[in-house]
């Protein structure tokens, strides 16, 4: 009978899956090559790798194709794939001073040792629709690639740059890094209580959803618990990963990954009595080229260490870490699409009794809050 809760679910699901494919392909254009997405939708791929927390550009590009460009859906596909992968090694800590720089800027200092390296950025381009991209001719692309300047990225750059924050530290302006709590906890292998260990907190932030983190970071810098941040340094580049292996005497090189790193310098807080006032640091690092996320992470890393008695939303560690995960948030927000007939029936039963009681005693005013 038609009104019995959706039955024939199997056929409906199969039909829906076929329609998804049809809607993707009905335009009749040539199928997107995964490599095209990986190369030309670079920032989308990077975002998906970060939020899916798996560095796998080709799989991320494939997930984007499969999800028709929906980045949260693509991140979810990648994250679910990641959960099936074994974890054999933990890489050694990376020294980002040795990063092979693609881009590197500081908002705090005009001149920094090694210089500002603008790199590939749209920051100072006008956001005009580029109609010339409507029809990019292959020979034009080839001529452009063959032309000067194309391999300039990195050609004249040194192997490593000194860190801006190291200068501040040397001058005693910045608080030294906290040495306690250096252990590594894996948030995908255990569920932790609050306050989170530092390594767990940074993991949760590193795989957070860019938009959610941006909104919370924005709320802080607009005034809800402002920490008065400066961008000490923003770097985009490749870092080398090493692991130790019992069969090898030396750490083994396993590959390089592109990361974005942001070091946020924040206003000195009311320190302990008698302690020297110092600036404090918020740290952001994520897979791929995703500057908004790295900066937001740096701000949130710092805001969530607030000792303020009245905490703004972005200063509440539990609030921030529970709500920035795009996979969890999207799943639960979307779950309202599932049938809730039974629970709604239960609610109606309560409401009708309340209404009946009100009719029986119309003069009995409910107490104000």
């Amino acid at each position: 009978m038609g009104y019995v809760a959706v039955s024939g679910g199997s056929e409906a699901i199969a039909g829906a899956e076929e329609l998804v494919k049809f809607f993707r392909l009905r335009g009749g254009s040539a199928a997107l090559a995964v490599r095209q997405i990986r190369d030309q939708q670079r920032l989308a791929v990077d975002k998906v790798m970060g939020e899916g927390s798996l560095y796998a550009p080709t799989v991320a590009a494939l997930a984007l194709k499969q999800a028709e460009g929906d980045s949260i859906e693509a991140s979810f596909i990648l994250r679910a794939y990641r959960a099936t992968q074994p974890r054999r090694y933990t890489s050694l800590a990376v020294d980002t001073a040795a990063m092979a720089i693609v881009r590197r800027i500081s908002g705090a200092f005009q001149d920094i040792p090694g210089g500002q390296v603008l790199g590939p950025t749209r920051d100072y381009s006008q956001r005009l629709v580029d109609f010339s991209l409507l029809d990019e001719k292959e020979q034009v692309i080839r001529a452009f690639l063959a032309g000067a300047g194309l391999d300039a990225a990195g050609r004249d750059l040194p192997d490593s740059f000194p860190k801006v924050v190291a200068l501040l530290r040397a001058e005693g302006l910045l608080a030294p890094p906290e040495t306690a709590d250096r252990g590594l906890r894996d948030i995908t292998r255990e569920s932790l209580g609050f306050p989170y260990p530092r390594s767990a907190k940074l993991q949760a932030l590193a795989r957070g959803e860019t938009g959610a983190m941006m909104a919370l970071a924005y709320s802080s810098i607009r005034g809800y618990g402002d920490i008065h941040p400066y961008l000490g340094e923003l770097r985009v580049g490749y870092v080398k990963l090493y692991i130790t292996h019992p069969a090898l005497a030396k750490p083994a090189y396993v590959g390089k990954v592109l990361v974005t790193e942001a070091e946020i310098i924040a206003q000195y807080a009311a320190g302990e009595k008698g302690a020297t006032p110092r600036l404090s640091l918020g740290y952001g690092l994520c897979f791929g080229h995703n500057e908004l996320k790295a900066i937001s992470m740096g701000i949130l890393d710092r805001t969530t260490r607030s000792k303020a008695p009245q905490k703004a939303p972005a200063e509440d560690e539990e609030f921030v870490l529970y709500h920035i995960d795009g996979i969890e948030a999207s799943g639960f927000v979307a779950h309202w699409k599932l049938p809730h007939y039974v629970t709604f029936q239960s609610t109606l039963d309560r409401l009708r009794r309340s209404q009946a009681l009100k009719e029986e005693a119309p003069d009995a005013e409910p107490q104000d809050d």
């Binding site: 009978m1 009104y3 019995v4 809760a5 959706v6 039955s7 024939g8 679910g9 199997s10 409906a12 699901i13 979810f76 994250r79 679910a80 990641r82 959960a83 099936t84 992968q85 074994p86 054999r88 995908t188 292998r189 255990e190 569920s191 932790l192 209580g193 609050f194 539990e318 529970y322 996979i327 969890e328 999207s330 799943g331 639960f332 927000v333 979307a334 779950h335 599932l338 049938p339 809730h340 007939y341 039974v342 629970t343 709604f344 029936q345 239960s346 609610t347 109606l348 039963d349 309560r350 009794r353 309340s354 009681l357 009100k358 005693a361 009995a364 409910p366 107490q367």
Partner: protein, 294 residues
């Protein structure tokens, strides 16, 4: 660690999808949950290919306890044919190859969302409930760090005040489903969004009830023969949904949980929420023995 020899080649995944290490963790946490009835046990809860909030907690529990000889029933809102039930059943069948059934009495494991079947469950059956919000105190306290302390101290005073204020304001407690209940006289649980109708079925039952919250990463349990008491006042007793004078339009049953449906002419119809039970009652009334089946 991935053991290539144990991988089922057909679909490329381990039996019941999860790797054995993950299953082991879920089993250990489930045992702890059974040992401390009603206590929420945190677990790692890796992502599944089903969205968070769509039954991933229940799924992980089922995946950790299911064996090749089990007979599985999956329901959503009491219905075997609902799209989400179908989807979850498909994933479990694809990765385990177990036999499935609609018949409640035939199942060894029943995974469910929002209902406990009308038919009384036995000691050799396990009911796995999908849980969106494992924390009963969420009504009065948003922070998990704080509610953890409140549970530890068995400090449920704010919950009592909440219920009392409900009555003062509305003449009635406003919580419909997921009614807070005290397990074994110690821990308050959110029994998942089952209607109040189903809460008494948890009390001193023959069956083991396992609750899995995937997104919130918690497992808890109501073992067999354990008391489950919905919070109530001496003068305002707990009451279940009122279907007095109503019967299922389809099977004619009274005494089952009913869903109301608009008939398109301004009136309302009532049908059973438990689709298998409805089929079985209808078949019995019509003299056929086939109770739905697959």
């Amino acid at each position: 660690m991935l053991n290539l020899r144990t991988i089922e080649r057909k679909h490329g995944y381990n039996f019941a999808f999860l790797d054995e290490n993950t299953k082991r963790e879920v089993r250990r946490k489930t045992l702890k949950a059974v040992a401390i009835p009603g206590h929420q046990v945190p677990f790692a809860s890796p992502e599944l290919p089903i969205a968070r909030g769509w039954g991933t907690g229940g799924l992980q529990v089922t995946m950790a306890i299911i064996g090749p000889d089990d007979v599985l029933k999956v329901i959503d809102q009491g219905c075997d044919g609902g799209v989400n039930a179908v989807n979850i059943r498909k994933l479990l069948v694809k990765t385990t190859g177990v036999r499935t059934t609609f018949a409640t009495g035939e199942a060894t494991i029943v995974q469910t969302r929002h209902r406990i079947p009308e038919e009384k469950l036995r000691a050799d059956q396990i009911l796995v409930l999908q849980v969106p919000i494992p924390e009963p105190l969420r009504f009065v306290e948003a922070s998990m760090a704080k509610t953890r302390e409140m549970h530890a101290e068995m400090d449920y005073s704010r919950m009592w005040v909440f219920l009392y204020e409900n009555i003062v304001k509305w003449g009635e407690i406003t919580i419909g489903a997921r009614y807070p209940s005290l397990v074994n006289g110690r821990y308050l649980i959110d029994p998942s969004p089952i209607p109040r109708w189903d809460v008494p079925k948890l009390h001193m039952a023959d069956t083991l009830f396992l609750f899995g919250a995937g997104r919130e990463k918690r497992i808890y349990a109501v073992p067999p023969h354990t008391s489950v008491e919905p919070l109530q006042f001496d003068d305002v007793p707990f009451r279940v949904e009122d279907f007095a004078g109503r019967a299922c339009l389809r099977c004619g049953a009274t005494g089952t949980f009913l869903n109301e449906i608009f008939d398109g002419r301004g009136g309302k119809l009532y049908v059973c929420s438990d689709s298998y039970n409805c089929d079985a009652v209808k078949a019995k009334r019509e003299g056929t023995t086939d109770g739905g089946g697959q």
